[in-house]
């Protein structure tokens, strides 16, 4: 009898493609919601991304009751409390989060407060605290990378205690994720590159780490193929809406994959680097990915070899001897990073970021060892190993 076991869960309805935003009124009516509140940030509003959403709702006779557009990049319990107060005052009955990871996480946390009551969202931190469905909740991502629209976690900063609070529950998942290419069409090149590499890393770690399973593998492989085929195309032609949609779908698919099979050392190092050096998450992912794959190589040779097909296509896969495919996969990722560096100067080493000093590497290594995702890395990592990977990523 096989010893394998896995769990897979994703109840989020994915609404993707041309005129997807126009499905929002119908979806809300199906959830008996008539008074939606939009949670977003100033950048999204300034980029005019709210306009097509509002127009889509108005055309169907659905009024947006309230818009909160002041979500900061690192959302806090105070912001969540303030938004919940507006939601209650305006008698809203549903939430539409529009934005990147922070706006989406904030929407999830606000939904806890307005559904469960109270003003202190910190009470609901941890896993499995929520026991019942929350209010109708739709997510419209405006970046193609985090996959937050299909993950059951939110992270909010508790300003008073100075700590990040994790909230985990399947009830945090939105009722629907609306993927419309119009929402990512104006993303600047370096953000397009970094967020796409975030999605790529989600998919690759999902495919190579300990909790991989056949269902998440399918999503991860498809996401890798989409990013490999479309990223440079979009970098060269940012208005390519088909390419944009491919990247947005890849991000959602990679999100479904990693939320069911977790991630590994790239994320441990990335989380620590983000916390210590304040580098964007997607950039850290792109930076560490090949070095961690090299570190894990002998434990992940088989799945990594398989990925060459999705990274480089059938011709290269067939022409590469099976014993060299894993190394060729890493080379393909290095090649992609070089191409991104050429187009938008996305850093490939810590030194190239200009924001990390060599004496911070020990601190990053120590913090990375305590990161939850290290548990799922296929190869054991000690302080010396983490430091060695960082040294390789230095320059």
């Amino acid at each position: 009898m096989s010893n394998t076991y896995y769990e897979f869960f994703c109840p989020v309805k994915v609404i993707a493609g041309k005129a997807a935003l126009e499905h929002i009124p119908y979806e809300l009516s199906g959830l008996a919601a008539k008074r939606p509140m939009i949670v977003t940030d100033k950048g999204v509003r300034a980029a005019g991304l709210l306009d097509p959403v509002i127009a889509a709702c108005e055309e169907s006779g659905l009024e947006i009751i309230s818009i909160y557009d002041d979500v900061p990049p690192d959302s806090s319990t105070t912001v969540v409390r303030d938004i919940a107060a507006v939601y209650r005052k305006e008698k809203c009955d549903s939430i539409i989060a529009i934005g990147g990871g922070s706006a989406i996480d904030t929407g999830k946390a606000v939904n806890i407060l307005v559904s469960e009551g109270g003003d202190d969202v910190a009470k609901y931190t941890g896993a499995g605290v929520l026991k019942r469905p929350l209010k109708p909740f739709l997510v419209v991502p405006t970046t193609a990378g985090t996959g937050s629209e299909v993950t059951s976690i939110a992270v909010i900063t508790d300003e008073k205690k100075g700590v990040k609070l994790p909230f985990t529950s399947s009830y945090l998942l939105p009722n629907a994720a609306v993927i419309d290419p119009r929402m990512t069409l104006t993303l600047p090149p370096h953000i397009t590159a970094a967020t796409a590499m975030d999605a790529m890393t989600h998919a690759i770690e999902s495919f190579t780490c300990m909790a991989k399973n056949p269902l998440s593998d399918a999503y991860a492989a498809a996401a890798i193929k989409k990013v490999s085929r479309s990223l440079l195309q979009v970098m060269d032609n940012p208005k390519d809406s088909d390419g944009r949609l491919e990247l947005a779908q890849a991000s959602t698919m990679a999100g479904i994959a990693f939320s069911n099979s977790m991630v590994g050392l790239v994320h441990s190092l990335g989380h620590a680097t983000g916390a210590i050096c304040h580098l964007p998450h997607g950039l850290c992912m792109s930076l560490y990915l090949p070095y961690v794959l090299e570190y894990n190589l002998e434990t992940i040779r088989e799945p990594l070899s398989e990925l060459l097909l999705h990274l480089e296509g059938p011709e290269v896969y067939a022409a590469t001897p099976s014993s060299r495919r894993a190394e060729a996969s890493i080379s393909a990722l290095r090649k992609l990073r070089d191409a991104l560096y050429k187009r938008c100067k996305l850093p490939r080493t810590l030194k190239e970021t200009g924001k990390v000093t060599e004496d911070q590497l020990d601190q990053i290594a120590e913090m990375a060892l305590d990161d939850g995702s290290i548990m799922f890395n296929p190869k054991e990592v000690n302080l010396k190993d983490a430091r060695a990977v960082l040294q390789r990523a230095w320059a």
Partner: protein
């Protein structure tokens, strides 16, 4: 028919085995924190008074240890003096049995969703490293390799034997003291 009669006995045997293993591990955690400097270094970063629990859901066997400072653990048996800080919860007795009988590595059990972490995940990661170190010491290499993700390459036989002997002696002494008390 026979299987139906045997099942309750098998379940009871698993329960007793898991309970016994928790008692051994709890005492061994205390012991290893008295003899191994690496474990002490890991434990030192935990807050003093930090309470760690491993238990079987919903209300099964459990082990509770406290960091009493300077990298030392104190085994509290199955009752905590106050709410625990971090709890690793096996979803079912069978899952605990798989891990504690070394049929499934701790890391694999996490990956397989056999366990939940309640509390600060970074402390749970640290405690898992301590548990791995303990298992590498007290189990024969062939069994320890089934329990941990990677057997430590720098753990050589003389060090392992000396440390294991010290840990087992302390565990046995603690058992005797508990019985006498």
């Amino acid at each position: 028919m026979l299987a139906k009669r045997i099942q309750p006995m098998a379940s009871q045997a698993k329960r007793l085995y898991v309970e016994l293993m928790f008692q051994v591990m709890g005492r061994a955690l205390q012991a290893v924190s008295e003899v191994d400097s690496e474990v002490q270094a890991e434990a030192r970063t935990l807050p003093e008074g930090f309470l760690f629990e491993m238990m079987v859901m919903p209300d099964g066997s459990k082990l509770i240890v406290e960091h009493i400072g300077d990298g030392r653990f104190h085994y509290h048996g199955d009752s905590a003096p106050r709410p625990v800080d971090v709890s690793i919860k096996f979803k079912h007795l069978t899952h605990a049995f798989l891990v504690l009988s070394f049929q499934e590595k701790t890391s694999v059990a996490f990956a397989n969703d056999r366990m939940l972490v309640d509390g600060d995940v970074s402390y749970a990661v640290r405690m898992t490293r301590v548990l791995n170190r303990l298992e590498a010491f007290i189990l024969p290499k062939i069994i320890a390799e089934r329990a941990v993700k990677e057997y430590p390459a720098n753990l050589h036989l003389p060090e392992k034997l000396i440390s294991a002997a010290q840990i087992y002696l302390k565990v046995a002494t603690h058992f005797v003291q508990t019985v006498r008390a």
